[in-house]
């Protein structure tokens, strides 16, 4: 495994977000999504992707005619990497209670999750018996 890629900048994070969301994509596809939120030149996106590939944040697949890029690391990995950042930690502590989600900010333990699975299965069995 090559050495760890550096932390992405905000602009790079945006492009990574597209790559995670859409899966491996051509520069054109990435540009289309980015341009939906703010006017951006195709060449800017191309340049950024090349830089990201050099840094090891993104990977380029040269097998096809138009280059396809994908994120080098998973979203979870990058989130952990960013969580080392003090600002990010402060945010997690205080913003966690301000946003509303289908799940609480705190995680469920593995044991509990297994119990939940069992409950769901039992319910299903009961239904089809």
């Amino acid at each position: 495994m090559p050495s760890e890629p550096p932390k992405p900048t905000d602009a790079e994070l945006e492009i990574l977000c597209v790559l995670w969301s859409r899966g491996p994509s051509t520069v054109r596809a990435v540009h289309e999504v980015i341009a939906e939120r703010k006017p951006t030149q195709y060449t800017t996106v191309l340049k950024q992707l090349q830089v990201m590939a050099d840094k090891g944040i993104a990977q380029r697949d040269d097998a096809q005619r138009s280059h396809v890029y994908q994120a080098a690391r998973s979203r979870e990995w990058t989130q952990r990497q960013l969580a080392g950042d003090l600002l990010q930690r402060a945010f997690e502590g205080s913003a966690g209670s301000l946003v509303l989600g289908a799940l609480s900010a705190k995680k469920t333990s593995k044991r509990e999750l297994a119990e939940v699975r069992r409950m769901l299965d039992d319910y299903e069995k009961g239904l089809f018996r």
Binding site: D10, L13, E14, L16, C17, V18, W20, S21, R22, G23, V33, I34, E36, R37, S74, R75, E76, T78, Q79, R80, L82, A83, A90, F91, E92, G93, S94, A95, G96, S97, L98, V99, L100, G101, A102, L103, S104, A105, K106, K107, T108, S109, K110, E112, L113, E115, V116, R117, M119, L120, Y123, E124, L127
Partner: protein, 491 residues
Amino acid sequence: MMFVETWVRTPVSEALGWALFHSLWQGVVAAAILAVITARRSAQARYVSACAALVAILLCFVHSFWHGLPGDGLGWSPRRIPAPLAFLDASSDLPAAAALFEGGKLAWLTPFWLAGVVFFQMRMASGWLGTVRLRRRGVCDAPGPWKARLAELATRMRVSPPVQLVESGLASVPVVVGHLRPVILLPAGLLLAMSPAQIEAILLHELAHIRRHDYLVNLLQTAVEGLLFYHPAVWWISALIRAEREHCCDDLAVAASSSGSAHQYASALAALEQSRCAGTMLNRKETAAIAATGGSLMKRIQRLLHPVTRPAPANGWAVTPVIVVVVLASLAALRSTAAPQADGDPDPYLRWLNEDVTYIIETGERDAFLGLKTNEERKHFIGQFWLRRDPTPGTSKNEFQEEHYRRIAYANERFVSPVHQGWKTDRGKIYIVYGPPDEIESHPSGRQGGPPSEQWLYEFLEGIGRRVIVEFLDSSRDGEYRQTRDPSRKR
């Protein structure tokens, strides 16, 4: 330290101290009532009652603070804690010791409370900034078909504001951010990883939050938590609100889903949690938080799968009148304790002695008054006290008494210092005892570089002499003028 001491001695601080004290039992009462009346109610009923209880505690707090303030609409009459005369006389020498007794020890709670409030409100502000950043940083629009699907679901849910659907590289769970322009943030890649039916279930849950204005309510709730942070009952109620809020959204989401199946919805929640845990289980910091979940997801799923244990969905608003009545009753109770009755309560008499007439009552009179046993006797004594001083005993008017209270009112209005009410300051005291001076020489910005000063000239003071000059110096330049010479001792 000086600053803290000055603050503690203000009437505002004293009133706050009392409000903090009263909120302790008020919160416990509210929580107890909440626990009893909502034990077997629907999620919506419990949610509404818990919100009402939180509002009630806040209102009680504001009410006790407001009524603890000096003046309270009457312009004068400091309340509750009678100032011991010994300390009044010594006030120029022992301000700190006097403050401890005058202001009551409760006022010393307020600096700690204020520090806590600052901490919690800053934390909330930083959290809010964090959510603003989360909306913008590392996000991209969700694919068009999903945006269209969300619009359909929003119509089904009767959600009026336009809702944005955005994928985020920073969010690790789906969340709603914003009230007027709500955004649903999905962790980037979630749309690829889960089935469309599961995604729909989650979107419905988030839409339920938007429909119920949960973001705004939660923001206000967090602000109240930050004010009443010292109270365990408040945290308990707040946690109850958070839990019931999710239950309410679960119910709404199941009802609005195309299958209407609680099982499918519960499976979607479990799958979502599993995908999150699979990705981030390795993080040491986060595993520390795992133990503290209190099994909220399990409770939710149990509740969804076994509606038998779910109580009949009673009307959520049915319990609100109960809470309202309780709030009003406790406010009324508070009011009656705050405004002491004329009988059976020694306070108004002690106050009369130590505040109203403290400067003019003679030692013999004071001893006699303190020796009295019943309030009837005290009432009679006060009548006689004024009668002895009435210059025109035959008439119904008592000019002396009227003039005396006029002087107190004047002193309170004109001689307020940062620390003391007007009547307690040196100038107030001289004014109340000797009346308006014949001449005043005032140097508010000091004479020849000296501190601000005032000289009062009395042409004649009975028992003291002619052309008496009383001098006041504001040597610390904080508005607290102190008398430099005693007119009764020295010309």
